[in-house]
Symmetry: D2
Subunit: 270 residues, 4 copies
Amino acid sequence: MCRWAAYRGEAIYLEELVTSPAHSLIEQSHCATRAKTATNADGFGLAWYGDRPEPGRFRDVLPAWSDCNLKSLARQIRSPLFLAHVRAATHGATRRDNCHPFVNGNWTFMHNGQIDHFDRLRRPMETMLDDEHFHARAGTTDSELLFLLALQFGLRERPLAAMAEAVGFVEHMSRHLTGAARVRFTAAFSDGRTLYAVRYATDAQAPTLYAAPMGGKGGYCLVSEPLNDETDTWVEIPDGSAVILSEDGLDAVAFEPDMATIDVNTQAAE
Amino acid sequence: MCRWAAYRGEAIYLEELVTSPAHSLIEQSHCATRAKTATNADGFGLAWYGDRPEPGRFRDVLPAWSDCNLKSLARQIRSPLFLAHVRAATHGATRRDNCHPFVNGNWTFMHNGQIDHFDRLRRPMETMLDDEHFHARAGTTDSELLFLLALQFGLRERPLAAMAEAVGFVEHMSRHLTGAARVRFTAAFSDGRTLYAVRYATDAQAPTLYAAPMGGKGGYCLVSEPLNDETDTWVEIPDGSAVILSEDGLDAVAFEPDMATIDVNTQAAE
Amino acid sequence: MCRWAAYRGEAIYLEELVTSPAHSLIEQSHCATRAKTATNADGFGLAWYGDRPEPGRFRDVLPAWSDCNLKSLARQIRSPLFLAHVRAATHGATRRDNCHPFVNGNWTFMHNGQIDHFDRLRRPMETMLDDEHFHARAGTTDSELLFLLALQFGLRERPLAAMAEAVGFVEHMSRHLTGAARVRFTAAFSDGRTLYAVRYATDAQAPTLYAAPMGGKGGYCLVSEPLNDETDTWVEIPDGSAVILSEDGLDAVAFEPDMATIDVNTQAAE
Amino acid sequence: MCRWAAYRGEAIYLEELVTSPAHSLIEQSHCATRAKTATNADGFGLAWYGDRPEPGRFRDVLPAWSDCNLKSLARQIRSPLFLAHVRAATHGATRRDNCHPFVNGNWTFMHNGQIDHFDRLRRPMETMLDDEHFHARAGTTDSELLFLLALQFGLRERPLAAMAEAVGFVEHMSRHLTGAARVRFTAAFSDGRTLYAVRYATDAQAPTLYAAPMGGKGGYCLVSEPLNDETDTWVEIPDGSAVILSEDGLDAVAFEPDMATIDVNTQAAE
């Protein structure tokens, strides 16, 4: 299982969420207690929005806790919206191109979870991509491919609807090809203005997702696991939900895979 | 705590001890159960003896379990005497120069343990080295420095005696400078013919050391932690012991720090 | 332009060809004189055959001249057949998965050259692969894809014929999709017994290929550039040739792309 | 020879000087024309001043031109004072700890040049350091040691005077121990407010140093080699000079090694 944290609010130093000694994502990744896998040592990544529309990104394959670059950057960089991820590899080798967050134009995406039977699904998923999105694929993870599929399905214009279609497409294709489907999916994505997160699993056993106020009025962080033991602070987001952090504060809506576009798309693909 | 494994016997593929899926050093480093630290993700190293007097060496800072080079090398290389180490950093940054085993000429050394107050002891320990050994220092770990000190004290001619003097010197210097001393030390070292291992701690709480027959008649492996649950197979080497694996099989002798040379040496240094 | 060297003959230490100070592939990669690109600092790789049918492999993305692991391995490992490559990236990011040689079962492949319009050709080339070869793709280079295509076309059974078909397919597809084709291709590949090399370019301007006796009777090395200035030693292999190094010594035959299978294959793909 | 660039003025994006395609430090490092060594592929580093007194730092050992992190950071980060360095190793292995700029508190330092006989001088230079500066040593380069020596001699209070004493000490010690001395030294250093650069060589053959206006009124960049061919823009700073960039603009003064403190210091060391 991977771990991640995301923030939207008044600009704060990344270190507050990412590298501070007491209760941060990196500390948590080194000495895991709640999560199933012992450690997250297969790389890490940061994407943050600054003066430009497209985000900055920093990724490396070393264990996050021993990376001096990460520590220095998190201490210097301030941002009103950023995503941070530490990886425990399931699909895809340990290399920078496979580290989250993935970036496409001004969009970022990171993910904790898994797609069962991905080996069987990879090729039809890639086939769905048009040339532009196909050539944007740099690594070999299921997560990057899901992001590209959502972009293909309209993430830029209808973020949550497109993501619902991407997940729906994968489930449908999995049932079609393997007779079964299981997607477990806790993801965050953003265009630099709004921060979205989704918690969903085919079998209702999605990885956890929590929210807590942070960093001044209207600021929130979203995390895959609580960063400290103050259990009152953290609100668990239920399975089958999407969270939207925008200028209007935090909003939560139901999330379920959308099969609507599949009929059209898969007919075209077949 | 680090973990290590060493072998002497008929030539076997390194993978049998290092990377095989079921019960090997790397598997163990990924999902630790007995050791105190959760994982050993701060680099790894191999030193093996082949056709030449000096050993080959391969070290990297990635987590061992995700390194394809390691897997391929361990599968190809056969050796009658080799040392393998996975690191959880205590002193010294995560970089190749700080990964065990350390090599000097035909000698190799690797270590699990710690020297209390090393920050205070580093400089006088370096001062003890003559120019040749001083310039041989490539990293910043306590382990490498202990190895160089033992070489300085005659490891090449009197292996266990010189190691006893090196440990004795460190304890003495620590008491002298800080009023207290604690060395915990489970190490293996070799000249390519004989394999030595030592288990010792000032406070009698040394990291564990086990031996088991392996790889044909007369072959043995030494490990910091048993590699599987067949508890009958593994003989625990008691604290305050040295093990000698040679053509004559396995021999064990008492090991205690030697203060003898300290009077001479420290007087010269002071 | 990349550089490479390959050897078949009595077992020699890899360092003789790869890392020796005077005239070796690595030395050459650091201070290039003949080649067009200034340096080859985008990674390197070794594949060697030992006791097992499948080769060992070692690749990294550091400049080859500063890699201590490479130096130590080349000094220890002896092999009767090996391939070594230093990379100057044209297609594909700098990461291990993109470093030559590529390995598939007991086959190895490395390449110096380029495929024009690869961005347009990548997708149809991948489409030609059956699932087994498609899933074997780990990186993003044109070279790896050409290797997989040749495997798909029968490299294991008819090495030079399958390679001719792979190159023919790429040229044909390029003309079909872009109106033009240019493949420049100097490659070496082996099954562990026989070493093959090909020099071919659509425009008769293939990267160079040289052969010289080496390492005892019947031994030869093949190189992309002569490793020293003894011009008498090195025989230039002409454009449009394949070299076969086997138990019977060195043989050279004409090489030209084969369009034969294209009619069948592309019809199936379209 | 290494290459470097430094800037002080109104805040600009680092990419303008560091990574822009046309004429930047990284472009120059890839295709060197003026410098003696063919390439600078042994790592790179950035130090920049932002909101905090101490600088941010980013270093890696990959060739700078293939590092996506560098490209993204240089595109996002804006700074009124920064230093950038690409390395061609002379002393010290290729690893992050040996990459410039070096940082100590709010001070940064980077260097192009060499100290002859450094192997003989390293130990007495280290001996001059008090414990605080000794423990601050993380790598093995002559450059880092020169920086620590200057800090020890008072860089924080009297920047140019302390640097003159450090260089003077090294020359003196070299003559004393080896009968000869040659320091070639083109360096930049800063406390975050003022940017200093020095060009000096014992034999009057120091690496070059150029200055040019940049980035709005009062802004200047200092570079080891001109970044483009507009020869009118670049003013060469003569050997034996120091440049001071502060709120008052650019000032240049004579620089020569100072032997004054040596009598005291070396007597203490001997």
